[in-house]
Symmetry: D2
Subunit: 470 residues, 4 copies
């Protein structure tokens, strides 16, 4: 069985707190690693602080070159990394391959941005008081970053924290999810081969106490967390003086207008709803269909959901596989049962075998049901009709969350309304809310988060502006 050392302050080490990594598909342990305790975290923090100035003053070409090297190394062995990822996350290979590809792209975008940190020029002669002066603004790294990554995109969502930090010139200590620590430990091996100062990156699975310290320790200047809303907002409270960036979840909606071409729209809805068993922050959980096409949409949507190939994530023809663990799988099917009892109609799915939950489609639901009101983070989607477009907008907005929304329409006026009215971070026209590229601003409003990722935006949060007047 493979063992992965954890990456602590520039050294690969093993602690006396062992961590077994389970393949969620067969529930077997397939690799081991360790958890970091307070002692290891302390070492990581100290070594990070040692290289803080070196990182802050590293010239752009060198930061670029380190990030490019990491991208190249990841690309070279992308199949290997994809398999590792598929195994620890139970993610179908087709999606695992795509995630590795995106992580490569995220690193490359960061490599470019590292040399393009914005400066600003200000005329100061707006009043006689500033005559003869001018002002320039540059951005300087905040210092040590604490990064907490989720299990669902164990590689790319971690890279969305690590790459901007390195581009900005901040050392970073990354805590991967305990269920999926290996992809980022493999990334650490790559980083270790580059000219990155030792200590600038640590990758540490942690026990609860150390994890809490990432939030509370004042030596961290910024905490960036991707995970569940409950945990995230609690962290904000305890974070002290540091800046906090939260990328949380949602219950994203799709609006289908009656003029939509179903051939184009259907595969996007299917992917949006069921890819990686819906364990995606921008998973399409609620679909609103304009009344005249509601029946035909629903029939076809159920049919295509039934045709999805369920199975072993390691097989390349598997469409959908398991959830991350049995607790989560059970939670999802419980919510479906509860909705059913409250009057919902289950059009397909609802069943579970250990960690595997069938693609599940409900209608006749209401907004009090957990399948609508909370973040499902599972392969379950509700489909309801609407009569007027403004109602559809209201239905999407009738949520505590606001991450992204998809709107299928060819109408300019609907597009404008959707942009003006939808309370979300991103409005995706003619695609699922699940659409994301790695250089676009990404993040939520309401309870879905605070701040934006998407390399350039993450970098800006990791820097402080400093004006010079002269």
């Amino acid at each position: 069985m493979d063992h992965y050392d954890i990456y602590c302050g520039g050294k690969f080490i093993t602690t006396n707190e062992a961590l077994e990594v389970i393949n969620p598909y067969d529930q077997q342990v397939f690799a081991t690693t360790s958890r970091a305790g307070s002692a290891e975290l302390e070492v990581a923090i100290e070594r990070a602080q040692n290289v803080e100035e070196e990182m802050a003053t590293m010239p752009g070409w060198k930061r670029t070159s380190i990030l490019r090297e990491m991208a190249a190394a990841l690309e070279k062995d992308s199949q290997w990394h994809a398999r590792l990822l598929a195994q620890e996350a139970g993610k179908p290979m087709v999606h695992a391959v795509s995630e590795v590809k995106r992580a490569v792209q995220t690193l490359r975008v960061a490599a470019e941005e590292a040399r393009r940190l914005p400066g600003e020029h200000l005329s100061m002669d707006w009043t006689p008081a500033g005559e003869g002066k001018e002002a320039w603004v540059k951005h300087f790294p905040v210092g040590l970053v604490a990064a907490i990554a989720p299990f669902n995109f164990p590689l790319n969502l971690a890279v969305h924290k690590v790459a901007p930090a390195l581009a900005a010139g901040c050392p970073v200590i990354l805590k991967p999810a305990s269920s999926t620590p290996l992809s980022t430990l493999a990334l650490a091996r790559i980083a270790h081969q580059t000219a990155l100062p030792k200590g600038a990156l640590s990758v540490l699975p942690m026990n609860r106490q150390s994890g809490n310290q990432l939030v509370t320790d004042q030596r961290f200047k910024l905490l960036t967390f991707t995970g569940s809303p409950e945990v995230g907002w609690e962290m904000k409270k305890n974070a002290g003086k540091k800046k906090v960036v939260l990328e949380l979840g949602g219950n994203a909606g799709i609006i289908i207008s009656k003029d939509t071409d179903l051939d184009t729209c259907m595969p996007k809805c299917i992917t949006g709803a069921f890819a990686y068993s819906g364990q995606v922050c921008i998973h399409a959980q609620r679909i609103f269909v304009e009344a005249p096409v509601f029946d035909v949409f629903l029939e076809r949507f159920v049919e295509e959901a039934k045709n999805l190939a369920l199975g072993d994530p390691m097989k390349t023809d598997t469409d959908m596989s398991v959830m991350i663990d049995e607790n989560n799988a059970r939670r999802v099917t419980d919510w479906v049962s509860e909705a059913k009892q409250q009057g919902a109609k289950v059009l397909c799915g609802g069943g579970r075998y250990k960690t595997m939950v069938e693609p599940t489609i409900l209608t006749n639901t209401n907004n009090q049901m957990k399948v609508n009101a909370l973040e499902a983070f599972g392969p379950v989607v509700t489909v309801e009709p609407f009569s007027h477009f403004y109602q559809a907008l209201e239905m999407v907005n009738d949520s505590r969350y606001g991450l992204q929304a998809g709107v299928f329409t060819n109408s300019i006026s609907r597009m404008k309304q959707a942009w003006e009215k939808l309370e979300v971070g991103g409005v995706i026209i003619n695609d699922a809310p699940t659409f994301r590229t790695d250089h676009m601003p990404y993040g939520g409003v309401k309870e879905s988060g605070l701040g934006r990722e998407g390399v350039k935006y993450a970098i800006m949060d990791m820097m402080e502006p400093r004006v010079m007047v002269f």
Copy 2:
């Protein structure tokens, strides 16, 4: 009869070359002024050069304050200015009032932009060669500007040259059209009352020789011309080393999709086609209507054109009045007659009484006819049907000009196609091509011009970037 002194190097003077100003409606001389010859131009140039450095180093707040004062003074007497403009240009009061209002806005936009000249920051450490250095870019005024304004918007199109020049810190010598010199001479009186250094602005109607010197004299660092394509392109040849900005004409097209609401669209098409007798650079000259609504559009369009109130520009209920002179009026009706002989159908108009040409609508035309191929600059418009949207785009593009185009549609895909494919400076969705606001980039491609106006853009052309590496 009123006499207007010309404004030469900070002084109001009269030359021995008298210029009579005619009201194109009643063809009567109603005011006199002078033309500047070489001697006056020489004085203006020398005084401008004397204040070049003062202008270049004037603090932002002061440039802002001068431009604001000019705006306030113009606004205060806007009715008076509108009447003067209506009289010299034969422009209906409703449009004259609106032009003065826009000139006020143009001055105010310039007042803001004067303090917002962009600076740029460049990281120089992209390669080891630039390590430890950084670069900043500021923009500096080019120097003396020669501005030639047209008769059709005698105030606002002149302000679109004068205001950016003053905002940029360039002295400027303005030659108004000989037929409409008074509006800008009145503006000169306003400028004279402000803290603007004497000599920074001259307003000089000119004889041909002096006019040519604006093009050829190397002491001018930039020539900005609004007028006819033939004259403009010839100037480019003779301009020597100076920069040249050309705002020329076109034969702007409108596309009407079958889903268009005619109630909204119709008044915009009427205004686009007939406002100020079509003597507008972005006058809607060619309308393409999707086949299914061609007949209904055309019927209604003709009906509304017939309802336009023709008459004295000084009356506030006049919709349309005369053309600038009889030569131009005759030219337009000749083109219509020629088109008719070649098979075009004249649905209304075609008649002329001295300088007044009726609103004229043709169909059954082809692209060889002058009414389509050349710039009509008169109240004539052709209307033709199309079957497929891509054909409509091709029809608009089948022109030597490319200023703006209007596209009525509610389709996102048509909007995207129009933006990608129309060879113009501006695509106006759901409005006439005649739409313009004074802070948007405005200018043409192909034979319609070179460079862009719209205060901020005009300012940039009047400045040179200067990078400092340190």
Copy 3:
């Protein structure tokens, strides 16, 4: 005695909780107003929410026009407003007049920015996944803003919250300091006369309970606080999900290089140290002088400090007057005495008469003394020598705060080092750290704050980006 109604949800009202306003110079009550309790706050919140959508969708020209009107009205009666401000804050008229002028400017800057909210265009075709798509970003108001303003600039620091909120399209509830509520209540009277929707602005002095609710109530989407570090950081903890902007204090440093022209530098140091009795966030508290000029600087600095005219704030020739209350005055002289006992040398000042503290200069101090380590917020300054420039930088940085710093030098290399190394929000070359214009980014790092003000920057914090991909 004048009575000022408080401004609650668009109405001027009096509550049963009276608040007396004292002139800190003669300690006499000169006006009365009220405090808002929970009931009034509830009304204000509800009315604000009622106009939230109207504010969010108000066109740019209208927001601009409201803010311009406010500026004009304030300017028109600026002497009256200055006297009111001088009286409630004990601020010498010369500074009160200047503050009103700056508040006018802040409103005007906001009026311009209201129409210039940035949009961003993103090419999406960086990977084949985004081919055929593009993305646009616009910014939308966050919603209801809670603003807490300090006593020291009772007008302009409140305007720095209110004006950006209105420019961004956010309703705002402002809590002025209880000691200086009148200047903003007078501003409310101005706002009430404009087209601003009633309810979009409330100005409410509050009791402790209502004040706390501004922090904790989840209906506020952003809390912007200017005040003391202790209070500010505590608020961040309790703010729940809302965004928090903190403009806190500091112990700003000045570095005097040996090549500095003392004639130019001296008045700036005097103003930086003693203007408004040092009750300024960027008050110059610590001066570091290069050894060769230490003695000559110090001698002259002490001499000029002794020459300051102390007295009645209402007199125009008063340089320096009182502190806001006796507690604060006593605190400052206690710190000075303590420092003296610990070995510091008091070169001038140290005395107190009721609320008036003399301009006080110390040397021979160390970093443990409160006069250096904490924010003095009084007319006390320490002066110490340095040998090498890097030491001076370290001395400035040896602080828990980091707002602004002043560096007097003509050396490019020192300027570059200062910009790279000083841990502050703003480096002011050849001026005191006290230098600020209202459109520059302003705010601190370390314990001096979170986020930036300076109209444009404040607006951005009050908005959320929303990307549209299509």
Copy 4:
């Protein structure tokens, strides 16, 4: 002897007009190629037009990928390319290697910029007329580009035209200098291996007639020329409607302040003056030294100039080699003799052996002498003293040219004055005017040119903005 086919419309061909390529060091023909006549140019134009739309609509990732591939291929064989370049240009290997490296960088910068073409957002609601509308600006390629490159940087200055054109989506026909056609023909071989549409790039040495057609043919939408001022300005006259970008020469100045560290400054002055025998647009031709250090500077400068190793460009320890041909070499020594007769003192150099001219330093010169007044473009430099800084600025400005200037100083006030007053495109503080990186804006004012290169800036000239209002 090697033969190089020319690259015409996607095919490598030979014409019946042979062109022999001579090594300027030994004056021997070492390779042959052909010249294109009208027939070949016609083919190139037609094939370019055929792929114009394909180029314009190519997604960003693909343009990026083509340019990256070109960079990688050039880098892989960089030694080979450097030797080819050294041979045809007589450029010492150390500089030839560096030029190839920079060309790689230029291609990489273009690869990044290809995906970062700027879009602009405009709020249209500045007046009620624009309420409910907004505007977005994108940039579209101008179409076919004619590029004329000089002999002195036969690779990188050609890449500065080709790479931006491909990044912008414009097909381009490149005419290399007849003396140095091989480096770009070698580049064409690289481009031919990529996915670049055949016809999008032609590299054609030309006879005079074809060369003229690049200027006059209206199918070219932009002419970008790097070369001598006389030729460039003449082209502007004959260019018809097309846009023209001119990168011409100058007689760049350096200012040495008395506080300058000569150890740092000296090698930069030597390189600025003598690298590639001064055949560099930003060659340092005039050095102004503050009086107190004039003698010591001059003595050392002459000494170091005398130490330069002259010889075969193919040897890696050669500092300086030949000029491009005997005519030019003779011209330079003639100017020196003439200056001497007019009273100049020749401190070193002045001699010539065939194409090799010695490093030549003059003093006691005046501004009428050709060595100061014209562009020397040879290894000759004049050194004169100055007393006051403002005089030095005037001396630099006393020139018909204005490309770049170098200023050695540690004074902030001198830096500010230099930036404000020097009439040049670039002010280089503490380095020679010869400093350039490939992503910075580069170009001249006065007779030194029109427009800017530096990838991003060149791209913008090759595109037209198109606003969409909707």
